[in-house]
């Protein structure tokens, strides 16, 4: 993310300045010297391929038009892949320019604006509207397929999958015969999350969009294959079929079969399509296979194994299902008691054993039946049974539990998307608690290479969920399992906090508008920083996680000061002043009132300066505080001794009174005796002297 913004934007700690132009809509300037003018009123619909809005940007320095994808936090944009994408920099890839946080002046909602070049582009999908194919097979191969394959090669070298290949995100630049293909961006949303089901493999299509997991170049090649097939046969299933029907057709006919028609097509392209659209992931072409094909080698792609099909269909809700996967898909979406009733019914088990002979699936089902025989049939038993049986019958599919359908490696993104949508996330801790990931792994015919790491990760997540301390819990699972997740604190519902530096800026903005929450750091913020910037917060975790207001506040100030010191975003005046106004509980921890007044004075001197480090130095001088504590302890002891002394004096007052009386009597006797002695002496002298 560009950091120049927040330093150089004049007089604005957010890093952007609003300019209101009544005639041209609402524009916001971002970037160094306010170079890029984002116009929220000018939408560029041709570049929109998902849920992310695209708007017009004008580059003042180079006098050119650009486009900004306004990514909201719920899209989970791939900010960590920006550098790799930029490195790919292929001429047939939409060129990345810069990215900045920006606030829509009308809604006050914050986005991350991903700015790309904006040549005059037309999505390829527009060319399917005519019945007459626009592109000859040779052109499809040489002018569309090959350039994109070249770009994907660079993605593959950078170990990055594109994940957003579809005909709405592949463009034609130019007109007539003088055209070039441009592959669109893939950073504005989580991997594969906004890609339509048609372009996803069956395994991925069965999962929720946010639960599709990690993609590889094979997934990109598959998506590209679907696009090419649509161009070759001039078909667009999206116009006629629903998502459910597309999945059903893919299961029944295969991905290649879904799109192929009787229309003739180039044998070369057919070979390519059979290779990349193979529904068996292990047989599907990877980039090496494609390279060989591009060089002219004949590879004879293998036919995918036939989908499990019954001789006699199973009837569910008056519909007949011959393919196991189709039935499982429907039951998975149904969920609840209905799915359980069907999957545990003798009729279904009889139908299964009579019609399917796959040994691996049989073994899976037997193991589930054996395990659930002795399990108590209460609580979540039905949901667990349904989930485990579905995994046994369709091991390549996602984990389907209650209303969730996720691949194991899509768990993190799915959790993040649920948090961002403010959905009920209770199903995720349950999935961990019931160890459904372990069940899924045990159902795989070939143990995947990532199994050990996956298992270890999920075991850790399971332990985190059990611990309620701030910094742990389901929030820690979220930020560890989804590295691209921004801070999803409810406090930042309208913001996009993507790193610690930006968190500080956003809190500063909230302080300025008086919308800061109490406590300042909730569980999300604490955990987000603990995972992403551990060094900033770990030394102060005990303070930040404390229920005591003063300790929490001190921890927050220390953490924010550490962030400011490391990131150097400039003075954060609003948040500093806010913290100064709230620091009374911290000052009250200083026992000595004179010292407290002196510290308060020093703290108030920091108002208007925006230096959190100076604030913490004034507020929390360790040496001074330890001296204060020592002094207080000594004073408390001394006070106690004085109190005892006072009590003993009070207790002996009666004795003192009696003692005084006694002494008085003694003195009286002495005075009297003295007077008497003097008198007698005088008389003696008088007697003897006459």
């Amino acid at each position: 993310m560009e950091q120049a913004t927040e330093n150089k934007a004049a007089g604005n700690e957010n890093g952007s300045a609003s300019q209101s132009d009544a005639s041209d809509g609402v524009k916001v300037a971002v970037g160094p010297d306010k170079r890029y003018i984002i116009d929220f009123s000018k939408e560029i619909k041709t570049l929109e391929h998902g849920l992310t809005e695209v708007v017009h940007v004008y580059d003042q320095e180079e006098d050119r038009n650009l486009a900004a994808y306004l990514c909201a936090r719920r899209s989970l944009p791939r900010l960590s892949d920006i550098l790799t994408y930029k490195y790919v920099g292929h001429p047939n890839l939409l060129y990345y320019v810069a990215s900045y946080p920006v606030i829509d002046p009308e809604t006050q909602k914050e986005y991350v604006a991903l700015i790309f070049t904006n040549p005059d582009l037309t999505p390829l999908i527009e060319h399917l509207k005519d019945d007459i194919p626009k592109f000859k097979p040779e052109d499809i191969k040489n002018r569309i397929l090959f350039p994109i394959l070249d770009a994907l090669h660079l993605f593959n070298k950078g170990d990055m999958a594109h994940g957003a290949i579809n005909l709405r995100n592949i463009y034609i630049k130019g007109e007539g015969d003088d055209y070039e293909v441009v592959l669109g961006e893939c950073l504005s949303a989580a991997l594969s999350m906004e890609n339509p089901i048609l372009y996803e493999t069956v395994d991925n299509a069965l999962a929720d969009p946010s639960g599709r997991g990690v993609a590889t170049v094979k997934n990109d090649l598959y998506s590209l294959g679907i696009c090419i097939a649509m161009l070759v046969w001039q078909v667009n299933p999206l116009q006629e079929l629903s998502d459910t029907e597309i999945i059903q057709r893919k299961v029944e006919k295969g991905s290649f079969g879904l799109l192929s028609t009787r229309q003739k097509a180039s044998s070369e392209l057919i070979e390519f399509l059979r290779g990349v659209l193979n529904d068996d992931a292990s047989q599907r072409w990877d980039y090496d296979d494609v390279s060989k094909w591009m060089e002219g080698q004949r590879l004879s792609p293998k036919q995918p194994p036939a989908q499990l099909k019954a001789q006699r269909p199973f009837v569910f809700r008056d519909k007949k299902y011959s393919y196991m996967r189709s039935l499982i898909y429907v039951l998975g979406r149904e969920g609840g008691d209905t799915a359980y009733t069907v999957l545990s019914s003798p009729e279904f088990l009889k139908w299964f054993t009579r019609n399917f002979s796959d040994k691996n699936i049989l073994a899976n089902v037997e193991s589930i039946l054996e395990r659930t025989k002795t399990a108590p049939k209460s609580g979540s038993f039905k949901d667990r049974y349904t989930a485990e049986m579905i995994m046994a019958l369709d091991p390549h599919g996602p984990i389907r539990f209650k209303n969730l359908s996720v691949h194991a490696r899509g768990f993190g993104t799915s959790l993040a998307a649920s948090f961002a949508r403010e959905d009920n996330i209770q199903v995720y801790p349950q999935l961990l608690d019931y160890q459904l990931y372990a069940v899924w792994l045990s159902m795989q015919f070939n143990v995947p290479a990532y199994a050990a790491q996956l298992s270890s990760d999920f075991e850790r997540y399971k332990q985190f969920v059990k611990q309620k301390t701030p910094g742990l819990g389901i929030e820690r699972v979220l930020y560890m399992a989804c590295p691209d997740a921004p801070c999803l604190s409810p406090q930042f519902a309208k913001d996009f906090v993507y790193d610690a530096r930006h968190l500080l800026s956003v809190m500063n903005r909230h302080a300025r508008s008086g919308t800061l929450n109490d406590p300042l750091f909730d569980r999300h913020i604490i955990t987000y920083l603990s995972v992403r910037e551990a060094k900033m917060i770990e030394p102060h975790m005990s303070l930040v996680g404390s229920n005591d207001k003063a300790s929490h506040l001190l921890g927050v100030i220390k953490t924010l000061a550490a962030i400011q010191k490391k990131e150097r975003p400039g003075p954060m005046i609003a948040i500093t002043d806010h913290l100064i106004d709230k620091c009374e509980p911290v000052l009250k921890q200083i026992y000595n009132t004179n010292l407290r007044h002196a510290v308060k004075k020093k703290v108030l001197e920091q108002k208007g300066k925006g230096d959190l480090t100076a604030l913490i130095s004034a507020l929390n001088d360790e040496k001074m505080l330890s001296q204060d504590v020592r002094g207080f302890r000594a004073a408390k002891k001394e006070y106690q001794l004085l109190e005892l002394r006072k009590e003993s004096i009070a207790g002996t007052s009666e004795r003192k009174r009696k003692l005084g009386m006694y002494r008085g009597k003694q003195v009286a006797m002495i005075v009297s005796a003295t007077l008497a002695s003097v008198g007698v002496l005088i008389n003696i002298i008088k007697f003897f002297t006459g």
């Binding site: 408390k636 004085l642 009070a650 005075v671």
Partner: protein
């Protein structure tokens, strides 16, 4: 052995009591008879002391001593007058009934009473004042500490300083 030890104390204690009683009573009686005029004079002049001696039960019998000392001083001056007049019974009778003599002796006793009435409460007050002063000094110190360190300096289960 024990019997022998028991017997010895019994035998040794009984004998001195009988001897001291005789010497305590007989001696003064003899002296009183020999010096009858002095005895007569002192009997009359020391009457206030005798009365106070009966009334005053508190140890150390300070009132008796205080009045007795000044009363004695007054009585001695009259006794010297008796000696000037020849130490006779007649002179003792005259002086015992003389108003001036009585005023002197009894006035001296009154002075003793006044000494007792003034000195005893004064000294008692001074002593208790010292304790009060010390208590106030401690209280001031505590108040200052409270001002400097706040209510947390109070001992636990204590809501405030006790002003007794």
């Amino acid at each position: 052995m024990a019997k022998k030890e028991k017997k010895q104390p019994t035998d040794t204690v009984a004998a001195p009591k009988k001897r001291s009683l005789i010497s305590v009573i007989a001696g003064p009686m003899l002296l009183a008879l020999v010096f009858m005029p002095t005895t007569l004079l002192l009997f009359v002049m020391m009457l206030p002391t005798a009365i106070v001696g009966i009334v005053d039960k508190d140890q150390p019998r300070a009132l008796t001593v205080t009045i007795g000392a000044t009363n004695l001083a007054g009585a001695v001056s009259i006794w010297f007058e008796l000696l000037r007049r020849g130490h006779t019974i007649q002179a003792a009778q005259d002086l015992s009934t003389n108003i001036d003599s009585l005023i002197t002796a009894y006035g001296a006793a009154m002075v003793g009473l006044m000494v007792y009435a003034i000195v005893v409460p004064t000294v008692a007050k001074i002593t208790s004042h010292a304790a009060e002063y010390e208590k106030n000094k401690i209280q001031k110190q505590q108040n200052k500490m409270l001002e400097t360190w706040g209510p947390d300096v109070l001992p636990d289960d204590n809501t405030g300083p006790k002003n007794n």
